[in-house]
Symmetry: C2
Subunit: 254 residues, 2 copies
């Protein structure tokens, strides 16, 4: 097994940010800069075509660390960011560009490719959790949650939360194309879910997003719907997300 290697380290505004590699996986870990044990470990996945340091994701991570004193980890999805591209990654990007230039719908290509990327991401995330639990300040007692992501980040999160019993609560967003496989996977998820639906989501029709919310097998699930497209989640949802995670991951903390 490849060990986790920290490759860069910076601190600002109370948050330490460490780049790491784990074999071919490239990631970043944010945590409180006083070195205290984090309250929880929150996993985040960027959207399709983005990377681990997508600015809104960095802002969400800093907010979570500051508000909840948790650690937040993001990795580049397979074929994204600093990762090598496979033949599938290259041809999917070519197909997307061609469809876009021809004015055709990109939905079938996005659906096929994102489903594949989400499937490939699951074992990688499990290795990352294993490796982070080897760090003395995290260990295997720190509760783990999925802190969300939109589009591809939701597809990865749903596949991961269904496969990984260490995830105790999960935040999903819209923008991932809903098909029968995704609904079947969602039905097997039973941990508390916060589902952020943007009411004017561009890629996914509203009824199929509502069907996804309906499908989650969780006793506790809440949907927060707000006007706007999938990049326009209002800032106050950051606070609600932090409180949702804290309520389920660290219920005994004030």
């Amino acid at each position: 097994m490849h060990p986790l290697r920290f490759t860069a380290h910076t601190s600002s505004n109370g948050v330490t940010e460490r780049d790491f590699t784990l074999g071919e996986i490239s990631g970043v870990l944010w945590s409180p800069d006083d070195g205290s044990a984090p309250s929880s470990l929150v996993l985040m996945s960027h959207g399709g075509g983005q990377h681990k340091r997508f600015p809104p994701q960095v802002a969400r991570a800093s907010h979570l660390v500051t508000m909840s004193r948790c650690a937040v980890v993001a990795i580049d999805a397979p074929g994204h960011g600093d990762r090598e591209r496979t033949a599938e990654d290259v041809s999917a990007r070519d197909d997307l560009r061609r469809a876009d230039e021809a004015g055709e719908s990109i939905a079938p290509i996005v659906e096929r490719y994102a489903t594949s990327v989400a499937r490939r991401a699951v074992p990688e995330w499990r290795r990352v959790i294993d490796a982070l639990q080897e760090l003395p300040e995290i260990g295997d007692e720190t509760p783990v949650g999925y802190g969300g992501g939109i589009t591809l980040g939701t597809g990865i999160g749903i596949a991961l939360a269904a496969a990984e019993p260490r995830i105790r609560a999960a935040i999903f967003g819209g923008g991932f194309i809903v098909n029968e496989l995704l609904l079947e996977t969602a039905r097997t998820i039973t941990v508390p879910v916060l589902f952020l639906l943007q009411w004017h989501e561009e890629l996914v029709d509203r009824q199929s997003a509502l069907a996804l919310f309906d499908a989650f097998g969780s006793t506790e699930k809440t949907m927060h719907a707000n006007p706007g497209g999938h990049r326009e989640v209002p800032a106050f949802e950051l606070d609600d997300s932090a409180r949702f995670l804290a309520r389920h991951l660290t219920p005994d903390r004030p």
Copy 2:
């Protein structure tokens, strides 16, 4: 004009509760028991067939006063609680009982009667706001919000928020039958709205509730959907409601 008369006064757990009458209107006002000026004034309306002291409403009022140091006021809806019944109130109740005993749908009767009650409640609420603003501890600078209610309480709130510019933010719930009149009224509401949808609402089909959320003319509107029927709003929504009101009514307070 009839003056507002306080008719009873008790305190417990930091909350003072005062019954009042204003002409034929019967109400109750909850406020911090140290006599300090409340941060805001929050209006609440009970559901159909209930009354101003419906236990879940009392619990919500106490929670809000304790959490936000606001004043909360509830009144008996026309034909409910301590109020006199008109011929319309009596015949609607008879019709409801007959339909229920015959196993027929009560929806058409509820729709007609609740629409009428909501219309009658609007001028009463406006008189109550006028009278409370005469109290020295409230005055006309204290921001006013509609703190919600389900079924009938939502119908009253939508009619009131559309008519009363003093209401700066409003919480509505499900369970009020959605017709074209309600949608038209909702379209004229532009203040921030929190809409609590119970995903398994008994009386109102989900699509019509979603259409109501869609109709609100507000730039900022958020829907929180949770599993269960209209009496099963989860306890954590109490906190979210208090924060929603505080964010809009008293943004400068910590």
